[in-house]
Symmetry: D3
Subunit: 237 residues, 6 copies
């Protein structure tokens, strides 16, 4: 039995609230159960140096956690003067995932900066961030269309992410903190609405796991991604 009483293939209650920030060109407050993340998308008409005069745009992401988003207070990264390795890993993953569904040439020579800030962390902050960031990115692109700066939204697909893991020997979908901190293995899947794989990261936490076990996680993930993409479509409708 899962601590939350969920079925193995059951997501937590997920909500996506677009336009939660009055200043940002795009934004979304995403909740995966208690995990809560504010995602904003900010348009910057300047691109990084390596893209100047190429006509191509860029999407990048930064990630942070409020110091008390966690059970014990974490040090504030700004005060320590350094982002942790985990933070760097996650923000790079978010950026890659969004670029994979963006038509950077169609975006034109501008940059969209995604910020994912975790207000409360109860497992799955990176998958919630990607899922919410897609909505924020879409909203920001829609604002460019609304201002006649683009003819259509330069996305070539939808993207969502979910974690799966082996908890007490059972493959389960969308780990919460209790499960995550005791899982034998966990994997994050970033996939498109059409079922394409963008990124897979699987890690054995205790013993190595088998190809068969990995297959089970994959199957769960496909189901979860399907549900999440459905919720994204509703939120953007």
């Amino acid at each position: 039995m899962r601590p939350s009483g969920r079925q193995p293939n059951q997501l937590r209650t997920v909500s996506l609230e677009p336009d939660c920030n009055k200043y940002a060109e795009g934004s979304c407050l995403v909740r995966f159960g208690e995990t809560t993340v504010i995602c904003t998308a900010s348009i910057d008409e300047r691109v990084p140096p390596f893209l100047r005069n190429t006509g191509r745009g860029w999407v990048t992401a930064e990630y942070g956690m409020l110091p008390r988003s966690t059970g014990s207070r974490m040090d504030r990264e700004a005060a320590r003067g350094k982002q942790q390795g985990r933070t760097v890993e996650i923000q790079r993953l978010i950026g890659r995932s969004l670029r994979a569904v963006t038509d950077l040439a169609a975006l034109g020579e501008r940059q969209i900066k995604i910020d994912c800030d975790v207000l409360l962390a109860d497992g799955g902050t990176r998958t919630a961030s990607i899922t919410g960031a897609y909505v924020a990115l879409h909203r920001a692109m829609a604002s460019l269309v609304a201002r006649d700066l683009l003819k259509s939204i330069p996305l070539i697909g939808e993207v969502a992410a979910v974690s799966c893991g082996i908890y007490k020997g059972v493959s389960v979908l969308d780990l919460d903190y209790d499960e995550d901190s005791n899982a034998e293995a966990d994997a994050n899947f970033v996939m498109t609405g059409a079922g394409g794989i963008i990124e897979i990261q699987g890690t054995a936490e205790a013993e190595p796991f088998s190809e068969a076990a990995f297959g089970e996680l994959f199957t769960l993930a496909k189901g979860g991604i399907g549900e999440l993409v459905g919720l994204q479509r509703e939120a953007l409708a």
Copy 2:
């Protein structure tokens, strides 16, 4: 006329929601109009080195703004590796203000760390932070009493803060961003529920201002602080 249509001595709509964070020993979501700040109070049983074996405790504060809490996106301080001068100033002010109403000997040899994170900034983030942080601090102290670690809440007063300024020649209370960015002078007042002064910071933004003008700001502040302390009492009731 004020851009918001408020009277000169009128606060914005202020709300204080205690216990907004399930992990923190004390917390409060504070809104001064659109300005929104999450304040958490985290108890740490270790004190800074200069207080070890003194039997006395400490209250300290950190402050941050989400990158898109503002009209244009700010750089993330954690990514730049450095807190800005303004950030350092504000978090020192919050810490001093709360220590001024704390009985550090009665708190005992433990530290309470306040985090004020601005979700949306529309002027007055430092005064909202102090006002909300007092509620979070009180809740954290109450948790120590509830766990029989303290006999009573080690506070010797209430503390709230408000800004005043001269806008188009008129002294007004609780500046929003439109007013703040055009004010001839502004001042932040940190005061106790009993009307004592904890901190006054007044700055001429354009021309120097007179003692009489300063007196007007002071009078407005006393009224505003009175209302804020009333709201704090309701929130903690």
Copy 3:
């Protein structure tokens, strides 16, 4: 009785020696009793990015203390790789205070950088710094006039600063270290030669103080600022 034997409204012996540095366009060695600060003003024909092509100039300040300017040696900030919060606060205050009396449009698109370096600290380093920095700034501006780069000195007023505090229940002017470290309250006043307020920062060190007490400090400050401005005029004559 004050430890120094001074009257409550009595400044320490103050001296201002302009042109103490042969390289700087303007400079002043300022002493408030034992507190000793070298102030230099350096002209830079480049302005910060936000002022480029605006025709307007800028005045900014940096502050530092020699490691052994204090009773116990402080860590060298350059070696620690970081300026302390207090340092940042003070240099921002010095910069704001000088900009408040500078006609930035008349200065033209150039920057004057003030450096205040404390050789010996016996209380009041920030007020001595502002008072001396005004003289250094004036001298640097005079050099621009002498070189026919400006027609007249682009200052719209004089500025000096002094601290006041409540020491053993008595309001006193210009705290030295012995007083400052034991004061119940202290306040720094930055005012113009014409009596206008540029900046007020008052802080309760122990208990909150009353409006009446604050009024007493203000009265002392006005007297002290008047004397300091007189000394500045003599030094610049």
Copy 4:
């Protein structure tokens, strides 16, 4: 056809030279084709704070590239004062991979620090690092056994790593730089000698890839890992 003329399932020439460093407790010079990495394992009798007095040990890793290990010179991270995000990601991966096959309780309260320094980079530096680091780790553990500090080598398995990718539509094993920089997708597989999965990281570089394609990569990886583990056994024999 692959640029190197290799078959799709063909590794580059791989060599593992143990004990290449006379000071380190364990070391291995690993080459995957032209890619060359020095791996050292250093024993430290102190553990990180979170393990003190637990009786358990730790294995951690750091990764670096010589500035001219690459076609164009990279900035030296020590001179820039910061490790890049990619560096942090890789060194965390190496550490996790080695810990997955280490019996940390049997290791006892000591730490083994792995350093992987890339002399020449021609694709696959992270997989070469893991494969060589395993040999260095084994040698360091053998030195503890030789000194009677441990009864047996505290490893519960072997670990090696290899990359696979889709290059011009074909799934290929062990990408070199020419392939890597043009691959449609690439994936890194970290597996045990017994075929268990320790870590999988797959990324679409251009379009999302299918589950079937991922299966092909997996099959190639299993073959490659088998060969690499064979070479490790020879090197350690």
Copy 5:
């Protein structure tokens, strides 16, 4: 002819004012012509970790320049967050030079920290720093004797330093800035009162120089060091 009109073997006017800082255990204001440096010696009863429980002491040094000690303002190292390479080199040289004449065992398990802060730089700041720092160190050690913490001053010799160089083909002593910035070669000599060599650093600025030329510089240095040691003796008498 030298720009200053000095003879080739003539020092600038040198002055040494001990006890210039009322807080420091030892101090000396040193002037080599216009070059002006405040040297302080601060006693710290804690030693660096590598000396704990060895009964031996340590002498270390830090060096800094006020931003406007130079003809054009330098960036403040504390604000840039980093000491320059030149600064690091100089402070290491000062520390080594003083340790060479200190009986670290006789000093006992305490540390003396030297700070050399340049108020005005006109060439020779490192040699002036060493020469003045010796006086400050001696005064600090005398204070330990005066407080009965040591029986005698734990110095095994005197140390002074001077630069020499080849300027317009002529070997000259004690270069000022005009000479230093145009010298064909320059060398810094750190020697004892008894004529022993502590440190020699010679550098060709333009073409390599000959052994004979180096011999000339050495001869000049010996004369200069003799005069400086004489002045140190007077200052400490």
Copy 6:
């Protein structure tokens, strides 16, 4: 007797392998006994800002040690976020030494960046670095000639470096680690093939040394430099 059994005037076995790095425009693997350093020279068509539009070029150097190049593992400078003082000193010395034999005007407005990375440190890493870096620099310049970007190699001399020291009262050439860590004095000599002095750094490690002793070290150095320059000529032939 020397620990290695060498004669006082005997170098260790020195080898110089040019073109050890396939990417770098110039490179050399240098060994002084067990001390092993990879030197690369990278051509950058951009010069530092102070040389733009002057037509003159630049040669600069960076130095690093692999963490386990030493008997006990050193912290990785990239991970600590800071280069040590010793590192900074050495890389500045390497850069100055190479610039002293380079015709910067003939090089033209481009920069050559030298990287010296120590794989194994057994004393003399800075002298081995300079000696090997000269070969790498020469090879990089030859590549410019080969590509018709320069008519001839812009070097005005050869440069090599060697250490000497007083070990157990005897002056010896080319100290290894055992000698270096016990030497009474040591000195590094950087000289040209024609016998000119580029840089001399001599340091008393225990007691001050005499002029006569210094003369002995100088004589040894001249012999050693002669041999090293011979080996450089062979390597470049």
